[in-house]
């Protein structure tokens, strides 16, 4: 999946939780939770939506790696299965935490 598609997926997840947000106003390098007025329940909902759309179940310990839109794009790019086509119905896929950590830290 290319970066444009990943970005679209993340923005869609944010808009599902915060429908009044204007995509063009999101600063990709500023803190997402602050600019989109997202509290911890909203953030959990974004993560839940992203799991459905991307198949990546982002562990809580990695939340800190998703503070901005650009960080979130990087995170998903590194953690989504790249060679096998992903099925939306596959809910069993979970990210390998070890891989996630080594690729980001």
């Amino acid at each position: 999946m290319n970066i444009t598609a990943i970005r679209k997926m993340i923005v869609a997840a944010i808009l599902e939780v915060a429908p009044e947000i204007n995509e063009s106003e999101i600063d990709a390098d500023a803190e997402l939770r602050e600019q989109c007025d997202i509290d911890s329940m909203d953030f959990l909902n974004v993560i839940t939506v992203l799991k459905k759309s991307s198949g990546v179940s982002i562990p809580e310990r990695d939340y800190g790696n998703l503070e901005t839109l650009n960080q979130a794009i990087d995170y998903l790019k590194n953690n989504m299965p790249s060679d096998t086509p992903y099925s939306r119905c596959d809910h069993n896929y979970t990210v390998d935490n070890g891989v996630a950590k080594s690729s980001l830290n």
Partner: protein
């Protein structure tokens, strides 16, 4: 029209979900009403049969207006008078008998809703011909007499969409003024006192990390659920923080119906209750929290959820403030504010270490409790939060 809180003066019936003759159980939803808190599913509090629907949607009426009548199951055999299913608000002169009513408004019988509307809109009722019993002027007569007049909801800035396609269309200014009314009442009548306590939630946070590491996002727990459960466990020992103060009398509640201050996108706040949190598991509390926050933002809170909170929790600390001094929502007697969790340097057994800390603030009603009992409550909450596994 039921009162869904001290800040509600009227509501708009947008849809009936029942018909005359329908048999209902207590808790069934009978209508959708649009209020300053969004679209609410209105429930009945008794079982029985609907005998009349008195209003046609879409119409805005004051709290206390009879919307429908029903024969209650227990009374059905005795053949009593149909009973209005919503109780009138005593504050709005609803208890006047017919004779007094005639005297006050110049010998023209009229419904309370029509009187209120006439008063607001400066309409002379004595010149009107009523279509109600004994020629009483009803709200609909006012609209029929002056069709050019803006609908009540337009006047008030409440604009429900009759197509129902936008469920939660509310006017922010209207919400603001509703909040203003109830907060004014609170600060005018309730002698608040405030106590704060810094609570180390490192153990609770560790517990959450361990539990959540094993779970998919849709089953993960939030700190707020842990806090709600801890509060519910502690409340039975501290009844002066949980209940209603009305007409000079405090009545403690046997249940922890915890209201959660939820910010609405676009402005305003609703405080729906999670019922009987003392009987829920931690997972059930989280599920209820998820459900109620979702419905607060999308519509379809239930009327009971907006009326029967026995204590409130405000966790806007999530938005980055250290301490939250809440204003009590009458007739409740306490509100618990939760600040932002922050890693801090602390001293434990003469050792300098760090801990994840939150400041919990109790705002309580001094007519009902004293600082001493408030302090006991906060200390008990602290102790409880050190044992999250027991929640």
């Amino acid at each position: 029209m039921p009162s869904l809180g001290a800040d509600m003066e009227e509501g708009t019936l947008t849809e009936w979900q029942v018909q005359v003759g329908d048999e209902l159980k207590a808790g069934d939803t009978i209508a959708v009403i649009e209020t300053n808190k969004g679209a609410i599913d209105m429930e009945v509090f008794d079982s029985g049969v609907i005998t009349e629907l008195c209003l046609e949607p879409v119409v805005t009426v004051p709290v206390g207006t009879v919307m429908a009548t029903m024969t209650l199951s227990a009374e059905a055999e005795a053949g009593p008078e149909p009973k209005p299913e919503s109780e009138p608000e005593p504050e709005q002169d609803m208890n006047l008998d017919h004779k007094a009513e005639r005297e006050i408004i110049g010998r023209v019988p009229s419904s309370p809703a029509a009187r209120l509307m006439a008063q607001r809109e400066h309409i002379n009722l004595s010149s009107m011909k009523g279509s109600g019993p004994h020629g009483a002027v009803l709200l609909r007569d006012l609209y029929l007499a002056e069709p050019h007049r803006k609908s009540h909801s337009e006047v008030l800035g409440l604009t429900p969409d009759p197509t129902g396609s936008r469920e939660n269309t509310v006017d922010v200014g209207k919400i603001r003024s509703a909040i203003a009314r109830v907060m004014e009442k609170s600060k005018r009548e309730i002698p608040h006192y405030y106590l704060t306590k810094d609570i180390n939630i490192s153990i609770a946070q560790e517990f959450l990390c361990t539990v959540n590491a094993e779970r998919e996002p849709e089953h993960r727990l939030l700190l707020l659920a842990v806090l709600l459960r801890a509060i519910a466990k502690v409340l039975p020992e501290h009844p002066q923080m949980n209940g209603y103060y009305q007409h000079g009398i405090f009545e403690a509640s046997h249940h922890a119906h915890i209201g959660n201050a939820i910010t609405l996108r676009g402005g305003g706040v609703v405080v729906p209750a999670i019922h009987s949190v003392e009987q829920l598991s931690l997972d059930q509390t989280m599920e209820a929290l998820r459900d109620v926050i979702g419905r607060s933002r999308s519509g379809h809170l239930r009327s009971s959820e907006l009326t029967d909170a026995t204590v409130t929790v405000s966790s806007i600390g999530d938005r980055g403030v250290d301490t939250v001094f809440g204003v009590i929502y009458p007739p409740q007697v306490a509100i618990i504010g939760v600040g932002k969790p922050q890693q801090k340097i602390i001293l434990v057994d003469d050792e300098i270490t760090t801990g994840l800390m939150i400041t919990v603030t109790l705002s309580a009603d001094h007519r009902v409790s004293d600082g001493f009992s408030g302090a006991n409550f906060l200390n008990a909450l602290d102790t409880q939060l050190q044992h999250p596994e027991k929640l």
